[in-house]
């Protein structure tokens, strides 16, 4: 039921019919922490919780309110105001793609693992604003959840198991069946046109230093020259990675995001400041600002900033990025509201 239909003919993928197979160009298996192994019942419970507004203080906001499947589990807003308070958030809603292989969640990596991360939006006053003791009362009083938790976990309904179920579902959100994937796995040599292949070659040279591997991120934290000042207000949210590490060398750094399904996850950057991919490329071509922690890859020979490219090259890059759209991921019924 959770199969996403990727080819996996080498036999190394999960043999279960109801947990997703792992595309060979990503990994051999879905990693899980020892304390929270991935199970069919656990992931199914996590899916149910992901779509259930009961997790919020006013029972109107679910995880899925801001993590929408057709947007690759982002929301199309620069910053969301869909939380319980209606107050605009300070960061762009990230897409949820191939999270099982990521380390450090949120734009600044402050979420340590998927389990711990899930407490943040549930508790945050401008997101789901939920009191966790009240959540436990509501889950215990619900007609289904006691049974579902008992099926998924030996110790049944507990607060840790709420976030563990959510983490299990998130680990099944695997996207690797875009035209690009079908081409690199050799399943369909015609999946990319010659023009798109030209774009791929350019991409690898111009962008692949950070958007590396078939995850399209090297998972590093980098300052890409968006700003030159990092104010202290809002508990120093503008410090980026430095807010987490307490290392000033990390000022203004954010995690390199995956580019999978990038066409559907606008607007862009940690604060959603760029409406379109054209704007993003214009930033890298003309807009990179000099700052102490600017990534060295954005500082060229002779001190030139950014990534030089011609208009034609930018157009080819955009054509290539469209080949990272995975229709199966966006429409897979196993990921939709149960």
């Amino acid at each position: 039921m959770l199969s996403i239909g990727c080819a996996s003919d080498d036999g190394t993928a999960n043999s279960s019919l109801t947990l997703p197979m792992v595309p060979v160009n990503l990994a051999d298996a879905i990693p899980s922490p020892e304390r929270n192994p991935l199970t069919i019942d656990g992931a199914a419970l996590g899916r149910r919780l992901f779509y259930d507004p009961l997790l919020s203080a006013n029972n109107e906001v679910a995880c899925a309110t801001c993590h929408i499947q057709e947007h690759a589990f982002s929301d199309g807003d620069s910053v969301s105001s869909a939380g319980v308070s209606g107050q605009a958030l300070l960061r762009n809603t990230p897409a949820l793609i191939n999270l099982a292989w990521m380390g450090g969640y949120f734009w600044d990596g402050g979420g340590y693992d998927l389990e711990s991360q899930a407490f943040a939006p549930i508790e945050h006053v401008d997101e789901m604003a939920q009191d966790l003791n009240e959540l436990m009362d509501e889950l215990a009083a619900h007609s289904d959840y006691l049974t579902l938790f008992s099926a998924a976990f030996e110790d049944g309904l507990t607060l840790p198991n709420v976030v563990r179920a959510l983490a299990q579902f998130e680990r099944t959100l695997i996207s690797a069946n875009a035209p690009y994937d079908r081409f690199v796995r050799g399943e369909d040599p015609d999946a990319l046109t010659n023009v798109e292949l030209h774009g791929l070659a350019l991409f690898e040279g111009l962008c692949g230093g950070c958007h590396a591997t078939d995850f399209f991120t090297d998972q590093s934290y980098r300052n890409n020259g968006l700003d030159t000042v990092y104010p202290d207000d809002h508990e120093r949210v503008a410090w980026g990675r430095a807010r987490i590490t307490d290392d000033l060398a990390d000022l203004g750094k954010y995690k390199v995001p995956t580019l999978r399904n990038i066409v559907l996850t606008a607007p862009y950057m940690h604060d959603g400041r760029f409406e379109t991919l054209d704007d993003v490329l214009a930033h890298y071509r003309f807009g990179v600002q000099d700052t102490d922690t600017l990534d060295p890859l954005l500082r060229g020979d002779g001190g030139a900033l950014g990534i030089p490219m011609t208009d034609d090259e930018a157009a080819l890059l955009l054509l290539f990025l469209e080949t990272l759209t995975d229709e199966d991921f966006l429409t897979n019924p196993a990921y939709s509201a149960p």
């Binding site: 922490p33 389990e115 407490f119 943040a120 508790e123 945050h124 607060l159 840790p160 120093r236 307490d246």
Partner: protein, 279 residues
Amino acid sequence: MIVVGAMLVACGGDGSSNTEPDTTQDSGTPTPDSEPVPDSEPVPDPGPVEDTAPPPPAGPGAVTLSIDHVFDGQPLALGTDVTAPDGTTLQINVLRYWISNVQWHQADGSSHTVPASYYLFEQTAENTRNSLTIADIPAGDYTGFTMAVGVDKEHNHSTDVFEGELSTAVEMDWGWNSGFIFFKIEGEYNDNGAMTFFKAHVGKDDLYREVTVTFDAPITIDDAHQSAVQLSAEAKTIFNGWNVPDAPSIVGGPTNSPAGNVGTNYSQWFSLLAATSEE
């Protein structure tokens, strides 16, 4: 009778017995787990004592650790005007912190580590919890103990692992930076006549602080003694290097300099009032 120090000479022969609870009980003190004392095995008698009966080894005991919250030496009263070291008038309404990783030390250098020792101490309008009793400490004479304020980095990041009293349901965790808030103090300060909210929520691995307390004389902990350690925590110390009107809202770790100061301060605000052992 208050006994301070090591008077149980009959128990002093075996320094290695403190790594595991000794199951052999004093036959004169029935306990639920008591086992018969083998009469054919005399316990070594290291010193001259008047009692000629072979003194059997004692069983594990308990100790109560309490921390008196004070300000300027007076019991801390919430919502009452006090004066910070820099002269700021303020009132404290919330004081909460994790005490963790307690270890009891014996004179021979050996230590007993209390498993899963994560405790939430607090003084708030809703609840005051400033003492705890730790059981199953191997019988022996203890010279001091070590505890930490905060949560060690091995337990501070996967916040779905609820070891001891650790939990995300007690409002002592952060979501933005998965981890526990080590120390929380909130209240109001006098801002030119207007009482204004202030807070410090301090944490992160670098502000985990171990504190070692050494007793004036060793105390006996075993199944025949009521043992207690009483500390004082001087809340005025917390405000050293923290001008509340300048930084009324501190959230985070060491690079936020008032937070770093608070971290230093909560490692220095304790003093030993008494360490006693009563037969």
